[in-house]
């Protein structure tokens, strides 16, 4: 800030010289003259840009008769050209990095605010929310109090209604969704899991080891092997984490049971395996959702911090 009584850096004669040099530029005219190349002509107190007649843009001077003050017959010259000038900034989709869409939304700021942009995929948008978090759109509720979809989001992809246990409600088929819109049970409709060929024990061990299929490892998981073997043996199962319950080979124990393959005991065993896998996936989903929420929150905090310092 310049203090009112502060001494000007450029002072006295230097400032006057600058003003004298700038004034002719303010008195600039563009005219069509008898020249072959465009010229800039200086005179005392004025600058003229002289354009040759015709030229690239077909510039011409149109003489306009006028009645001037006191009935004085006079003339005005109207510079015309056949070339259209560059479009105004409003005619382009983006100009100088300015997002026209954002400009357009100034007339209706409720349609697109910073916080609303952070919703991204918008899976957290819930139809039944109480609206208490309208002003905290970077917050994703895990329960039924999902953030309401605002009018400003009209035009975007339709989001499933309802908050749901995973913050994303359910899709049109009733599948529960994560906050980012991914299905919690991608293996099939109605929540059934696709059989990945692993036993409950193997799946559990895989989860604890952070190597569960295409799921990313959780924080704190041991380093990943370079390539995952397509078939597993008992020896491939990494050691359990500290504090983990002892592993048991469910397949071995089932085979050692009294039931015959295909009998009731086998059905119970398979049912238990599916239940175990489902529970494992559910826990994985919970931790994944939590991880994503933490990451989003961290990114939001980082952006907010950067904005404050910019």
């Amino acid at each position: 800030m310049i203090e009112p009584d502060a001494k000007c850096v450029v002072n006295g004669s230097k400032l006057n010289e600058t003003i004298i040099a700038l004034n002719p530029l303010l008195n600039m005219d563009i005219v069509i003259g008898n020249v072959t190349e465009p010229q800039i002509q200086y005179s005392e107190g004025a600058v003229q840009i002289v354009i040759p007649p015709g030229g690239g843009g077909g510039s011409t001077n149109e003489q306009l008769d006028i009645v001037d003050t006191n009935n004085q017959a006079s003339t005005r010259w109207f510079l015309t050209t056949t070339s259209q000038g560059s479009a105004s900034p409003g005619d382009t989709a983006t100009a100088g990095g300015v997002n026209i869409g954002s400009i357009g939304n100034k007339s209706n700021p409720s349609k697109q605010s910073k916080d609303r942009d952070k919703l991204g995929g918008g899976g957290a948008a819930g139809g039944g929310g109480a609206g208490k978090n309208r002003d905290k759109l970077d917050r994703i509720d895990g329960g039924g109090n999902g953030v309401n979809v605002n009018e400003g989001d009209v035009g975007g992809p339709k989001k499933p209604a309802g908050g749901g246990a995973f913050g994303g409600g359910t899709d049109a088929f009733g599948n529960e969704l994560y906050a980012d819109g991914n299905r919690v049970t991608p293996g099939g409709m109605g929540g059934d899991l696709a059989d990945d060929g692993l036993t409950a024990a193997q799946a559990g061990a895989q989860f604890r080891a952070g190597t569960g299929g295409d799921l990313p490892p959780l924080p704190g998981a041991p380093p990943q092997p370079a390539s995952e073997p397509t078939t597993r043996s008992r020896g491939d199962i990494p050691p359990p984490l500290v504090g983990a319950p002892p592993l048991t080979d469910a397949r071995t124990s089932a085979k050692s049971g009294s039931g015959t393959p295909g009998g009731f005991s086998e059905s119970v065993r398979r049912m238990n395996e599916r239940r175990a896998r489902r529970n494992t996936r559910s826990r994985t989903a919970d931790r994944l959702a939590e991880t994503q929420r933490v990451k989003r929150q961290a990114e939001a905090d980082k952006m907010a911090f950067a904005n404050r310092n910019s």
């Binding site: 008769d65 006028i66 017959a73 005005r76």
Partner: protein
């Protein structure tokens, strides 16, 4: 404030409350017995800066029409301060001058006329149409009939007070009145 030129020829749209004018290019058939479209547009009493001279449209009835046996009108473009005259060959003599004007300030012109009716009757007339600040037409008409049946020479000079207007119309004429005798004469000049 300056006024952009109308025209170069224009015509007022009749029966309009507001002064509505149509612009035309200069007619190519003058002088002619055919009426041109519109009247020339002038800058008060001056020539236009582009070089177009002040002019008015004159109409006289001195020509003899071999078909209809009456004096048909004859249209010409006349410069300022030019006297036009008419002598009746078969019927009455009549001279008319009309023009449009544009002015940023009030100004005056003079209308000089003479009339020599053989039966001693005649008239002069002028009308000034201007536009007020709302664009509505303002009419100023003056008309005088003269003659005692015996005097055969009349003349006069009328001052035309022409108000500022984005566009206006001036028309004036002088003629014999009710004589319809060959040999009647009249002259008219605008300056």
């Amino acid at each position: 404030m300056a006024i952009l030129r109308y025209g170069p020829w224009a015509n007022i749209i009749p029966h309009a409350t507001q002064g509505l004018y149509q612009n035309y290019d200069q007619p190519t058939h003058l002088p002619s017995a055919m009426p041109p479209t519109g009247y020339p547009v002038n800058c008060a009493t001056s020539d236009w800066a582009s070089g177009a001279a002040w002019s008015s449209l004159s109409v006289v009835y001195s020509d003899f029409d071999p078909v209809y046996f009456y004096e048909g009108p004859y249209y010409e473009e006349k410069p300022i301060n030019t006297q036009i005259s008419d002598t009746a060959n078969l019927f009455a003599a009549s001279c008319r001058l009309s023009f449009h004007y544009q002015a940023t300030a009030d100004f005056t012109m003079s209308m000089q006329w003479t009339c020599n009716p053989l039966l001693g009757y005649g008239s002069w007339y002028y009308e000034i149409i201007s536009l007020d600040s709302n664009g509505d037409k303002v009419n100023d008409q003056q008309q005088t009939q003269f003659g005692d049946g015996a005097t055969t020479s009349y003349s006069g000079t009328e001052t035309l007070d022409i108000p500022a207007s984005t566009i206006g119309t001036v028309s004036c004429y002088v003629d014999n009145f009710g004589s319809d005798y060959a040999g009647d004469t009249c002259t008219l000049k605008i300056s």
